[in-house]
């Protein structure tokens, strides 16, 4: 049994929620003021995920030094720094279009890192 302390992000109130997890299952959620808090805590306590955004240098672009990028979907929160590290040394070459894959399967997450701007 493990109690995970969370701050709800669904509204400015920021309820302090305690989610008790047992064997990967949430067994109790307390401290939330509404249903949205419960749904948030359920997900955040068992499988917290994030979208990672960054930028990488682009060569051959008249207008830009950098191209912004993001993970094409959620990655596990525990993998965030591995995903960031996978961008070290990565450079793209113009032309770049929004959605172009910059790193595929970033840090073994199965999620690609894609360009979020054209250059």
């Amino acid at each position: 049994m493990e109690t995970i302390h969370l701050t709800c992000i669904r509204c400015p109130r920021g309820c302090q929620i305690d989610a008790v997890v047992d064997g990967g299952q949430v067994v109790s959620i307390t401290g939330n003021s509404c249903k949205r808090g419960e749904v948030y805590a359920q997900a955040e306590a068992t499988n917290p995920v994030r979208v990672v955004t960054s930028s990488v240098p682009v060569v051959g672009s008249a207008m830009h030094h950098m191209v912004s990028v993001k993970t094409a979907g959620d990655v596990p929160k525990s993998k965030v720094f591995d995903v960031v590290a996978s961008l070290k040394g990565v450079t793209v070459t113009a032309p770049v279009a929004i959605g172009d894959v910059v790193v595929s399967d970033a840090a073994g997450t199965g999620v690609d890192i894609i360009a979020t701007r054209s250059a």
Binding site: S55, P57, M66, F81, L87, K88, G89
Partner: protein, 486 residues
């Protein structure tokens, strides 16, 4: 080692004025400056006033050079492309009892040779300056007082001296001065310099330079003055430089427009120990907020865009120390140049040059270049003037600093002028970019890009705010080692 005729220590306004005046003569001149640029000490942080000259004690060097400097300043600024506005000053008092004090100032001014002084009151005074505090009963009006752009003045004097053959070595701090035959040997961490005459214009450090050659020790106390700068939206709050009549309660603070159209409030006067103590303090800023409303009402302090502090080179004797040092032939002090030092600078240059004349007896040059062109300012230009500039150079059409309307052409010009800028502050002092309401938020990266592009020996990541040690960038993205992350 070649022997230089005149070596000047310090490229502030006093040193630069000396260099320019001496460059009218057939002399080799070298100016050593510890910082990376001209105008990095006292000259860059003061009230930017051309005083009329009623303040200093009659018969003092201050009084004489103030009045003379005031006369010279207008034509000089005209010649050198420096912004000056003859707006006049008012010394105000808030009690009938203080009117004899105003009269005493007037009498002293007359004795000092100041023209057109007059005490004004009542409706005439309100008409002159509508935002005076309701308590103000009378003022000494000095129409000959002006405001000047101190950065431009310092730069222009130095650049004009350069055009006339003077040399400038920056990032060169003087560490020793010793007698060597009939010359002086001046040491720095790098080169050694040999000179017939040395001029000590080292600002708050003039005492340490003086004490290298004289047993008659000098002591300069940094007297800190803190200021608020308000946005140009507040720049017309007063039309004159408004001083407060010194009373038993203290000297008071001034409220004045600047040539750049801002409103300036200050200074405090605090004697401190630290010669690099250009920090502001909560107490100092609080003092300004309390004192300024005594003379001017409804100051829109909400429009404050920055605060700063500067150090005056104060000496207990409270007079300039200008002259050949006893027992040190050819070593000339140009020290304790506190207020009205900026005003006096042109006259200080004249006086020091005369002293040098008495020692080296140089011939005058017949090819002296007396004028210099500054950088056009589009902010105050008419549409026609601005359009004509763009016609000449399209880069006048690209606005880099949106707050002060400074264009790429002006910034490029500031970089490529003979004594060009190499730092963000260097650009700022020459063009007013970064001096506006966003305080460099928007234009910093753009100016860094221009410096990188225009200077082959300066990369984007090496651009500084104000010389070595003030780098703006620590590395490229993803290059920092050992990021201590959770």
């Amino acid at each position: 080692m070649e022997t230089i005729d005149v070596l000047i220590i310090g490229a502030g306004v006093a040193g630069a004025a000396c260099a320019r005046e001496l460059s009218k003569r057939k002399l080799s001149i070298c100016v050593l400056e510890r910082e990376e640029d001209v105008c990095c000490g006292t000259t860059k942080a003061n009230s930017a006033i051309v005083h009329a000259g009623f303040d200093a004690a009659t018969g003092s060097l201050m009084a004489k050079l103030n009045v003379r400097g005031n006369e010279l300043m207008g034509p000089l600024c005209e010649d050198l492309g420096v912004d000056l506005k003859n707006i006049g000053s008012l010394v105000v008092c808030t009690s009938e009892e203080d009117i004899p004090g105003l009269q005493a100032l007037l009498d002293r001014g007359v004795a000092n040779g100041v023209k057109d002084l007059r005490i004004v009151r009542g409706e005439e005074l309100r008409e002159l300056e509508p935002n005076l505090a309701d308590e103000v009963v009378a003022a000494l009006w000095a129409p000959t007082a002006s405001i000047v752009n101190p950065f431009q003045l310092n730069w222009a004097l130095a650049e004009n001296a350069l055009a006339n053959g003077a040399e400038f070595d920056f990032n060169t701090e003087v560490t020793g001065v010793v007698r060597d035959g009939d010359c002086w040997l001046v040491s720095t961490p790098g080169e050694e310099y040999r000179a017939r005459c040395v001029i000590n214009a080292a600002g708050v450090y003039a005492d340490s330079i003086h004490n290298m050659v004289s047993d008659d020790k000098m002591e300069i106390t940094p007297r800190r003055g803190q200021y608020f700068v308000l946005d140009t939206t507040a720049g017309r709050h007063v039309g004159h430089t408004v001083f407060q009549l010194p009373t038993k309660l203290g000297k008071g603070v001034l409220v004045t427009p600047t040539t750049a159209g801002n409103l300036l409030v200050g200074p405090t006067a605090e004697d401190i120990d630290e010669k690099e103590g250009t920090d502001t303090t909560a107490a100092g800023l609080q003092e300004l907020l309390a004192k300024a409303p005594l003379s001017v009402k409804n100051i829109p302090f909400r429009e404050t865009i920055t605060s700063f502090s500067g150090l005056r080179a104060h000496r207990a004797e409270h007079d300039f120390a200008i002259g050949e040092v006893e027992g040190a032939p050819g070593f000339i002090d140009c020290a304790a140049i506190e207020s009205p030092g900026l005003t006096s600078a042109p006259a200080i240059g004249e006086m020091v040059a005369e002293i040098v004349d008495g020692i080296l007896h140089p011939e005058m040059r017949d090819d002296f270049i007396a004028t210099r062109e500054g950088i056009p300012n589009v902010e105050w230009a008419t549409d026609e003037q601005w359009a004509a500039l763009i016609e000449k150079d399209p880069a006048y059409g690209r606005v880099i600093c949106r707050c002060r309307k400074v264009t790429e052409a002006q910034i490029v010009s500031a970089i490529h002028h003979p004594l060009g800028a190499r730092s963000l502050d260097g650009i700022k002092r020459r063009t007013e970019a970064c001096m506006g309401r966003c305080q460099a938020g928007f234009c910093t990266p753009k100016i860094m890009e221009i410096l990188d592009r225009e200077l082959s020996d300066l990369a984007f990541s090496d651009v500084t705010k104000a010389g070595p040690g003030s780098e703006l960038i620590v590395g490229r993205d993803k290059e920092l080692e050992g990021g201590d992350v959770a």
